[in-house]
Subunit: 336 residues, 2 copies
Amino acid sequence: MSNLTKDGTIYLPTSPSIASYAAAVGKKEGEGPLANCFDYIAEDVTLGENSWEKSESKLQQYAFTNALSKGNFSESDIDFLFAGDLLNQCVASAYGSRDTSIPFFGLFGACSTMAESLSLASIFVDSGTAVNAAAVTSSHFCSAERQFRLPVNYGGQRTPTAQWTATAAGCAIVSPHGAPPYVKAVTVGKIKDMGVTDANNMGAAMATAAYDTISRHLANTEQSVDDFDLILTGDLGQVGSDILVELFQKDNVDISGKHNDCGLMLYDLKSQDVHAGGSGCGCSASVLCGHILPEIAKGNLKNVLFAATGALMSPTIVQQGESIPGISHAVHISAE
Amino acid sequence: MSNLTKDGTIYLPTSPSIASYAAAVGKKEGEGPLANCFDYIAEDVTLGENSWEKSESKLQQYAFTNALSKGNFSESDIDFLFAGDLLNQCVASAYGSRDTSIPFFGLFGACSTMAESLSLASIFVDSGTAVNAAAVTSSHFCSAERQFRLPVNYGGQRTPTAQWTATAAGCAIVSPHGAPPYVKAVTVGKIKDMGVTDANNMGAAMATAAYDTISRHLANTEQSVDDFDLILTGDLGQVGSDILVELFQKDNVDISGKHNDCGLMLYDLKSQDVHAGGSGCGCSASVLCGHILPEIAKGNLKNVLFAATGALMSPTIVQQGESIPGISHAVHISAE
């Protein structure tokens, strides 16, 4: 076996390098606390396109092409592309990548897609199946809100637990050799359903999945919270983050000093009116690729457990009264 | 390197076994020419559920649990589950698998999902990342037609090029050792867009993708059409199959004697009123897992190139006037 697998945790003995990464975001995200981190900030929400779906595809293209050029890669260097997004039939990824000629794996992990795609790219490079593999994902406030909740122009009041879907994309390119960050291990998520039926409370629906995956990662790798500088969830927001901390408290584990959430980092919650925080595939993707990976590369962070979280629901099935399953995939990213 | 990769083709030197497989289908599919092949045939289209989405999830569960029991596997034997479907946010897979506790990779490959999931499961087993991995997918006529085209109860006239979305699911479990069928190699699809804008002509939109993937597979592996008993596309139907044969004719390659299409095999096209043939993730999944894999296991087929095909479109983006990109993933399955 080239990798050692235990209850969903896959060790990557070659510790592949995340050789390049980039983030492209919308105007609002470019006005937030991480404004200086991004490779591209759109001037307006359309990106010059005549549909929101195409705007989102373009954002994903920008993240990908920036990651290519920052790493001195050409398109033909990339053996496989792992991509997905929130839109029906993942069209932001399909249309974002249709002008490439790269063998393509379409994924659906909802907002966990950055971790799912980065996991698969890392596994492929570690096992020698790929030399270089790219992971890319995106979300767009307008395309997502129209699809999932209310028509944007309806102007309905958002609930306090609601999160703001990020207009953002991120791309990471994994290679066998290179500078840090390195991927040490991944833990693949299991589907967890705690009976949440409120599509405006995604954080609560996903917190149990994050708890399960982080707990399994620590148990399977015989590590503790102390082995990490940062345990970074995807987009639990304020509500889900509080639940996550409580779930660990029941195990007598205090993660509060080590935990942060991309949904709490991308925006200034008070001044930017995003209620419980950011969400969307692009939220964790842009925070990871724009902010966290550079911090690891600089050595400011040594070990990060990146546990992106996704709510695996559709409006149809929520309207039918079904509860919302969550999933979380975790990637241990290290400076060493 | 544990695998050798060339332009999307991945050799699997250990030739993992498809150790178990099962297919579950709807009533209409159970009245077609392959009726005797299926492990489960539903008595009606609801499967006793109160929504079509849940009916589809149940069909996927039946395929999975039948594959488990036929192979004497328990759920805990499966290291990873690769699953996807056509529904918005792939809910048939998420809700179909939420009662399991298996690490889960969500995929979106439209109707190519059986080949995408089987490829990833085989790569994971070949590289030692998994011992046993399962690939599962489904489609359901009612959930798909409501979502993609017309409300079913509208009763609109279907065009001659239209295909019938199969109510069907298939599951394959890949293991390192065992009896045939064996997976020898896979070729990962590239996104191909030939400018087709008619959502009732999926076959034409996907034929070029199938041509690209099959051609690449033959070139990369230095094989010819003669090396295969069967080149089996997913759901090109009659229109797409004719285009595929013509595309190869331009290369002076005659595949007509070796080619068949799951969409042409699942139904009796004339008596079952399915117009250009079957489609949907479950079409190629049920034909592969119900009919083709048993034929390979018996030695009646020696080498099959299974090239499932998907149209990566959403109703939203087609209504916006965009053309429909296609993708095809190919898996070489052998009796030896």
